[in-house]
Symmetry: C2
Subunit: 198 residues, 2 copies
């Protein structure tokens, strides 16, 4: 145990996700020895982000205004909505440059063990968009894991009863990967989703 | 790229040691969604540590006063000094409860590639302690790697010319480890340092 302020900082850092006691200690000593001005900037970034950043009133993505840059961008196709779990996923899809529609951020995935059901996600907001906006396709891009699949199934059943065209991102072998290292579920999906070659 | 404040926070976090872009993003979103009061505490811990924490004027360990708790503790043996690289190492040795003397924190190890020579370490301060204090033994507890060994060799040569009893922590097999997984240098050291059994 260290004296007062150092130990307090180590404790606070240790509560952040993915930071164990050793990392917390290393980061605390880095902070101790770093330029005071840089560290004041880090501290104020933390406070600023809490003060300034909100969630887009349309799609739930992070923004500093009432709506996010993507929802405000008139060049984006307003008839397509890509449904993702988190704002991080918006960035991931944006990087691909394969999608020019808009997003809907659920704020997580259905996970009964963690007590997250459909009501804890921004599904009601998605439904109200469907009645307000003219939507031709909803692409479900939740994570390809248990929770993400459950959420995708739940959404697609609900949306299909409303007569909406719902698609899901393809599962299969990751590009650049090795077939022999693929797990059996991924490889099974790759077979199911096989396409005829042109 | 995110909008303003979020990206700024990700950038600031990414500059901390051992935090890559993915972790920085995860932590930033955790901060966004966490309790504002907790995050204000984290930010103020960072500022407080920079304001309050100093280095002990005797041994160089972290402290919030002029000297550290160990140097102020009259029950500690003042004739033994354990020389370590960093304050973290003081904590590690303290945890063993095998040492009841005092410390000297060098602030690093000799590393010519990084431009750290003896003058960049608190060696001058160690020498002045030797003339002021009555020292019977100096235990060198620098890291058992290239830089730590170089520093140990440098110190022991210098201190021996002053007629001081200098020792080095034993190298050998880690307790609880498997002999077959020990690297050859460690195993070699374990042979060199073998002791007769009682």
């Amino acid at each position: 145990m260290y004296e007062g302020a150092v130990q307090e900082l180590i404790d606070e850092l240790g509560r952040l996700p993915g930071i164990g006691p050793k990392s917390a200690q290393r980061i605390a000593f880095h902070i101790l020895e770093a330029d005071p001005e840089d560290m004041r900037k880090l501290a104020s970034s933390i406070v600023t982000v809490k003060d300034k950043v909100k969630f887009c009133s349309i799609c739930g993505n992070v923004t500093e205004q009432e709506t996010c840059t993507i929802c405000r961008d008139s060049r984006r196709d307003p008839t397509m909505i890509c449904v993702v779990e988190e704002s991080k996923d918006v960035i991931a899809v944006e990087r691909t440059r394969s999608f020019r529609g808009r997003y809907h951020v659920l704020g997580g995935a259905i996970n009964p063990i963690a007590g997250i059901g459909p009501d804890q996600l921004r599904i009601r907001e998605l439904l109200s968009r469907l009645s307000d906006e003219q939507i031709s396709e909803i692409i479900i891009a939740t994570d390809p894991n248990l929770e993400g699949e459950a959420t995708a199934t739940y959404l697609s059943r609900m949306l299909k009863t409303l007569g909406i065209n719902v698609t899901r991102l393809a599962s299969g072998l990751p590009v650049g990967g090795d077939l022999e290292y693929a797990d059996e579920i991924t490889l099974g999906r790759a077979f199911e989703g096989r396409r005829s070659m042109s």
